[in-house]
């Protein structure tokens, strides 16, 4: 019964996404595209936070690595041979640094998008989890990392474009980015990438690995005393989260055409976590819906009342944590709980037992 419901929800969502170009304006379709790119990051966070119990307040770092690497490639692709990005010349550099030029080759850039965030996430996890640092201490480390990353990007203006970041892209693989047909392909690529990420998560959740992640989340030391080394499992989960974040960032850059330190720092990293909490942190479909809801909400509120968004997201987070600890994905079970509470307060225990029996039968 439950399986059937979740499968039909999956199919309905996929159908809605595939048909979106038919019923959405070009503007809203481009919004949807970039939010779907964000949903890939949310799936990674779902695995990291919801399944493994690791709260990361620094997902923006891995997202930013993927985004900046692709942006570097786009920047180079927009230059005539022998030229340098304008901000480098203003900052007095006389030649392109080597770690920039390697991303001129599209294959290297794509590989970099995948590998650099993964290795960064795995390295951090390896250092930290082997020392048995976890919980709120880990969350603080990741938040500090997000702050440091954004600060570094601003301060190294000659190499990163500083506060303004990287923009003015023209082509990818020889195709013009502003071209409507490119934007359409980009939307499809994003939908395919998200679907692949979703199926990957579903597969992971059925493997022994997925079950051991849950075991570690619920009882890390118990799992250790069954002969498992939690650090290894958490490192792999965190690396997958990093890879997803990197892919998400690269796609996002293509959708919006700009990347800057303000998009990768502490506040965006927290917004990523809020979106996942709203959706329900251990439900794959829930975090996708939560990401869409929060981001469309952000777009709507900040265009109507630009000052209000920060309050709005704070309020949303408080409401979800207090009223809906399992997020949107928890609503189906919540209905039963509320109904039971109503009946109890109405003083009809017999009826309650009866209904309970019926629901159990179903």
């Amino acid at each position: 019964m439950k399986k059937w419901l979740s499968l039909s929800l999956d199919i309905a969502l996929l159908a809605a996404l595939v048909a979106a170009p038919l019923y959405l304006s070009a503007y809203h379709l481009s919004l949807l595209g970039r939010f779907l790119a964000m949903a890939i990051l949310s799936l990674g966070l779902c695995l990291v936070w919801g399944w493994s119990g690791i709260l990361s307040l620094g997902q923006g770092v891995f997202w930013g690595l993927g985004a900046y690497i692709l942006a570097m490639h786009l920047k180079l692709a927009a230059l005539a041979p022998g030229d340098m990005p304008d901000f480098m010349m203003w900052s007095g550099l006389d030649h392109l640094p080597g770690w920039w030029t390697i991303f001129r080759h599209p294959a290297v850039a794509l590989l970099g998008v995948l590998i650099v965030p993964t290795i960064a996430a795995a390295g951090l996890a390896w250092l930290v989890f082997n020392r048995r640092v976890s919980g709120v201490h880990f969350a603080l480390i990741t938040q500090a990392l997000a702050l440091a990353f954004a600060t570094l990007l601003v301060s190294e203006q000659a190499y990163t474009g500083g506060f303004n970041g990287l923009t003015d892209f023209t082509t990818l693989f020889g195709r013009y980015i502003v071209d409507p047909s490119f934007q359409r392909s980009l939307y499809w690529i994003t939908v395919v990438a998200l679907t692949a990420a979703y199926l990957f998560c579903r597969w992971i959740s059925h493997t022994n690995f997925g079950k051991i992640l849950l075991a570690i989340r619920d009882g890390e030391s118990r799992t250790r005393f069954l002969g498992y080394n939690p650090a290894g499992y958490k490192m792999i989960a965190f690396a997958i989260g990093g890879a997803f974040a990197g892919i998400s960032g690269a796609l996002y850059v293509l959708h919006v055409g700009v990347i800057s330190p303000a998009m990768v720092g502490v506040v965006p990293s927290i917004e990523m976590v809020v979106a996942v909490a709203v959706g329900g942190r251990d439900s794959f479909i829930g975090v996708i819906l939560g990401t869409l809801l929060v981001n469309f909400g952000k777009d709507w509120i900040s265009s109507a009342m630009p000052e209000m968004w920060q309050f709005g997201i704070g309020l949303l987070f408080i409401l979800v944590v207090t009223l809906l600890p399992k997020g949107l994905a928890g609503i189906p079970e919540l209905r039963g709980q509320i109904a039971a509470r109503f009946r109890r307060s109405a003083g009809a225990p017999a009826l309650e037992a009866q209904t309970l029996a019926i629901t159990q039968k179903n």
Binding site: I212, L214, R217, D218, R222, L226
Partner: protein, 252 residues
């Protein structure tokens, strides 16, 4: 002469200057049961903690199957064949009963070898036997968090058993169980002792008697006396340690 499965040699464990274990020694033969008793604070749980690597001794060593395991990581000690049931319930609440047992029974516990979906047939068979023995067969698909207290105890004993470790450490396995259940637990332990060794902590003398095994009495972090339950109960030193608690020892 057969060499011991486990040797705890002159181990001292110190917490802020207080010696929880103070030159403790213990030897355990393969396929045997040993019961560990002693007043609260005698160091029984600390001894299990030391064997399993949860606590590092200041001096002395722990030898298992001829190998010094004193400084190994907990999970590596477990992989060498020691599994422990803790005093506090430690089932994995959001996994089914079956999955709890499967995880405990899997021989391949390295993270990079965990991406399979299936369960090895010998693991499946072992889990099936444990489900049968613990009476949890009907509950195999229930989440562990939904079990009653007694069932959780059984599940946890089942997890330790299905790990197929050579040495099983049980910290108060019969706590909170009815007379019937604890008799069944004793029966289970005895029947498994043809393949495994057990080191069991318990206060319940009825249960200890049912185990029908040699008893070691600890006091102030040291071995006070070893012998049959009968000898122990008559020993004046043991009685004086339990002063005011003779009843506890003499219940049987």
């Amino acid at each position: 002469m057969q060499s011991p499965l486990l040797s705890v040699e002159n181990v001292t464990v110190s917490f802020d200057g207080f010696n929880a274990l103070d030159g403790m020694s213990l030897h355990l033969m393969p396929t045997s049961i040993r019961v560990l008793i002693g007043p609260n604070g005698a160091g029984k749980s600390t001894l299990l903690d030391t064997i399993i690597g949860n606590v590092r001794p200041a001096s002395g060593r722990v030898v298992f199957k001829g190998e010094d395991i004193t400084d190994l990581n907990e999970y590596k000690i477990v992989r060498r064949g020691i599994c422990r049931k803790f005093q506090a319930p430690g089932t994995l609440e959001n996994l089914s009963v079956e999955d709890n047992l499967n995880l405990a029974a899997r021989p391949r516990r390295e993270s990079w070898r965990s991406f399979g979906v299936g369960i090895a047939s010998q693991v499946r068979a072992r889990v099936e036997r444990v489900l049968e023995r613990t009476g949890l067969k009907e509950k195999r698909k229930s989440l562990a968090g939904q079990l009653s207290h007694g069932q959780k105890q059984w599940l946890e004993i089942g997890m330790v058993v299905s790990s197929d470790a050579d040495l099983l450490l049980l910290d108060e396995p019969a706590a909170g169980m009815s007379l019937d259940e604890s008799a069944q637990t004793a029966e289970l332990i005895r029947s498994l002792s043809s393949d495994h060794s057990f080191l069991v902590i318990d206060h319940d003398m009825t249960f200890v008697e049912q185990l029908d095994a040699p008893v070691s009495v600890m006091h102030m972090g040291r071995m006070l006396k070893e012998g049959s339950l009968n000898e122990i109960q008559r020993d004046p030193q043991v009685i004086s340690v339990y002063l005011g608690r003779e009843k506890e020892v003499a219940v049987a």
